[in-house]
């Protein structure tokens, strides 16, 4: 076991971080944060696309783990880009670099609010018994205004997917597995940044003549949140390494459960300022809010995991990667 990146992975990771880091700055409008629910990081998207990072998983010697690095690091940025749908889900589901951005949705969610659907060029649809790969050209799609720090869209009319490209029933569990991984990685990235941002804030902000972060009531909760964030990261990376369904189910369940405490605490510690759009916290925490319920949320992951682990009444399996 070696939990550090190997030489090739480190070079790749460093390259990703080098591109993402300049975009970690909070978007400003004069002295304050630009008061928007979200901002799409067009420049970051363009730079990563030029470097072909969104097809990283398709390069010889690379795969899920390398795509996971990209998804995690981009999720840490305050500005959002679509990375998981292209680099992880689309690439590993089809073996192709699909026209991007890529939106991924269950059939029943299409008329509701789907992340990145307002600008997606490809839509991957979980139809329940099949997976459809759909070009969004000509689809009746409208943006959805939300507080959730992602661009979102919905399909306005019932969509006929009968002529669409299908991947077959066996692609359904694979799609869900990759979606779980994406959720776990995006959650881990956004959660770590929300904690980092809050940690700096409670060091700087003073109340009753002391930094907010000097109160033990704050310290213990933030420390417990950090433990959750690190757990999210390592569970997600193990799942990306192993590509084992149970590992991804565990990672997603843990991540979606952790969101509740981390979101509550980080907002409490940022006070009323954290509720304003002139403070940057919502760029991460309101992404976490929507990730919390993806794929049915923690309850659904827990149900699936129980079936995977203990479904057979006569046996008690253990995680393959242990």
């Amino acid at each position: 076991m070696d939990l550090a990146f190997n030489d090739e992975q480190r070079v790749l990771h460093d390259a990703i971080v080098q591109i993402v880091t300049p975009h970690m700055d909070i978007p400003r409008s004069g002295p304050t944060v630009k008061p928007v629910e979200f901002m799409y990081a067009d420049r970051l998207d363009h730079e990563l696309a030029e470097g072909e990072f969104f097809s990283i998983a398709l390069i010889d010697g690379c795969g899920l783990l390398e795509a996971a690095m990209l998804v995690y690091e981009t999720a840490r940025a305050p500005l959002v880009i679509e990375a998981a749908g292209s680099a992880l889900i689309g690439a590993l589901l089809t073996g192709e670099a699909l026209p991007r951005p890529v939106a991924v949705a269950r059939m029943e969610d299409l008329p509701r609010a789907v992340r990145f659907l307002d600008r997606a060029r490809t839509l991957i649809v979980d139809m329940g018994d099949d997976v459809a790969i759909v070009s969004t050209d000509g689809l009746p799609i409208a943006p959805v205004h939300t507080m959730f720090a992602y661009p979102m869209g919905r399909v306005l009319e019932k969509v006929d997917l009968s002529g669409s490209r299908r991947l077959g029933p066996s692609a359904v569990p694979r799609l869900r597995h990759l979606c779980r991984l994406a959720i776990a990685l995006e959650t881990a990235g956004a959660m770590q940044s929300a904690i980092d941002f809050t940690t700096q804030y409670v060091k700087d902000r003073r109340v009753f003549g002391r930094p907010v972060g000097s109160f033990q009531a704050v310290q213990h909760r933030l420390a417990a949140d950090l433990q959750k964030a690190r757990g999210c990261y390592w569970l997600a990376m193990r799942a990306a390494w192993s590509d084992v369904p149970a590992d991804a189910e565990i990672a997603t369940l843990y991540a979606q459960r952790a969101i509740k405490a981390v979101n509550y605490d980080t907002h409490q510690f940022n006070g009323a300022l954290g509720m304003t759009l002139e403070h940057a916290l919502h760029f991460w925490t309101f992404r976490l809010r929507i990730l919390q319920g993806e794929l049915g949320g923690a309850r659904a992951q827990a149900t699936t995991l129980a079936e995977t682990m203990w479904g057979d009444p006569s046996s008690v399996p253990v995680p393959v990667s242990r």
Binding site: M1, L3, W234, W310
Partner: protein, 382 residues
């Protein structure tokens, strides 16, 4: 990044499992291990068990060759801990010596001390206990009062220690005592036999076990100068170094993982696992356990690379506590009748270990303090 075990790791685990399967009796949980590693039956068994373990060279293979090991490294050590702790730790408190007292002696001891103390650990001949906490100094360990007064060519120790696991049956104690100054700078380490003249051990019945806790009284206990490990006043440095090993030395997550499977077996037998809410609770507990496993592996990875101890240790320990409690709560909520004295030995052993997890090796709140200060860099309170 590679989360897989090496072929060598797998072979080592297989060797251990084979040994344990052969050596542990069929009624192991219900007749030996139900009361934890300090239970009388388990401690009685530990002597012969440990000697057989030593014959197979399975106690200190992770130690350096110079001290009787094979330089097998930190990953082999955690494999041993996983296989032992998940079986109720059949070595009893030998593990204290193998995990951290031995390494502390290697790092801080004289050649004579290494010669005297390390071989008996490797040979499985000595059970250890640690004399740290005192009636007025538990979490606030630096407030300890037990004194070692220089006297001629040695020291005279007076004071008391409390909540001392294994002391009633242990051979050797790793003791913290104060020489001179108050505060952390006055703490020194001593290694002494528990049957030394002037030491009295009073068992303290506890909710988790009638045999674990003890109070240890020191009345004019005379020890030679070479009972001191390190320099006078170096004790705090030694103990903070070795506590990194102690905090994650016991692979609690593995015991929780296997106990969870055992709980599921019981729940299925009773038809309770048909309840989707209960299945979900089991899954949530599993996720906590696996997080604790990986956060521990992060620490082991650093140790395997000889990196200095870091705040990751506190993160891992806190996670272990959450995992232990998540699994223990399943037992007490759905299978309380199996936690009785004639219930299920494994469930009982796990439950009693779990309810002490947030106190042992530094309270959970101490771990959070350390994460706050050393990981997050938050300022001290007023």
């Amino acid at each position: 990044m590679d989360f897989g075990w090496t072929t060598s790791d797998d072979a080592y685990r297989a060797e251990l499992v084979s040994f344990l399967t052969q050596e542990l009796p069929n009624n192991w949980w219900d007749s030996f291990a139900y009361d934890g590693p300090s239970g009388p039956e388990l401690m009685n068994n530990a002597g012969s068990f440990n000697r057989k373990l030593a014959q197979k060279d399975l106690i200190v293979r992770h130690w350096p060759q110079a001290y009787g090991g094979q330089d097998a490294g930190a990953w082999k050590q955690i494999i041993v801990s996983e296989e032992m702790w998940s079986r109720g730790e059949p070595r009893s408190s030998l593990y204290l010596g193998a995990n951290w007292a031995g390494p502390a002696i290697m790092k801080f001891g004289t050649e004579a001390q290494k010669h005297r103390f390390l071989r008996p650990i490797a040979d499985g001949e000595v059970l250890w206990c640690q004399g740290f906490s005192e009636p007025e100094a538990g979490t606030d360990l630096a407030n300890m009062k037990t004194r070692a007064e220089p006297d001629g060519d040695g020291y005279v120790i007076n004071g008391s220690k409390v909540w001392t696991s294994y002391a009633a049956r242990a051979d050797t104690m790793f003791l913290l005592a104060r020489v001179g100054a108050t505060g952390k700078g006055g703490v020194s380490c001593f290694i002494l036999p528990v049957d030394a003249a002037g030491i009295t051990v009073r068992p303290i019945p506890a909710i988790h076990s009638p045999h674990d806790f003890n109070e240890v009284f020191f009345t004019d206990v005379r020890v030679p100068a070479d009972a001191r490990l390190g320099e006078e006043g170096q004790g705090w440095d030694i103990v903070t170094t070795i506590l990194h090993y102690e905090r994650i030395g016991a692979a609690r997550y593995e015991f929780s993982r296997r106990t969870l499977d055992h709980i599921v077996t019981h729940l299925k037998a009773r038809g309770l696992f048909d309840d989707p809410a209960i299945r979900g609770e089991c899954s949530k507990a599993l996720a906590e356990v696996e997080a604790a496993r990986l956060l521990t592996y992060v620490v082991i990875d650093g140790r395997a690379k000889n990196l200095p101890p870091s705040a990751d240790t506190y993160v891992a320990r806190y996670s272990m506590i959450q995992a232990d409690h998540a699994v223990a709560n399943l037992s007490s909520t759905y299978l309380p009748d199996l936690l009785t004295h004639d219930g299920d030995g494994m469930l009982r052993a796990h439950f009693t270990a779990a309810i002490t997890a947030g106190i042992a090796a530094g309270a959970a709140e101490v771990q959070l303090n350390m994460i706050s200060g050393r990981y997050l860099g938050l300022p001290h309170g007023a």
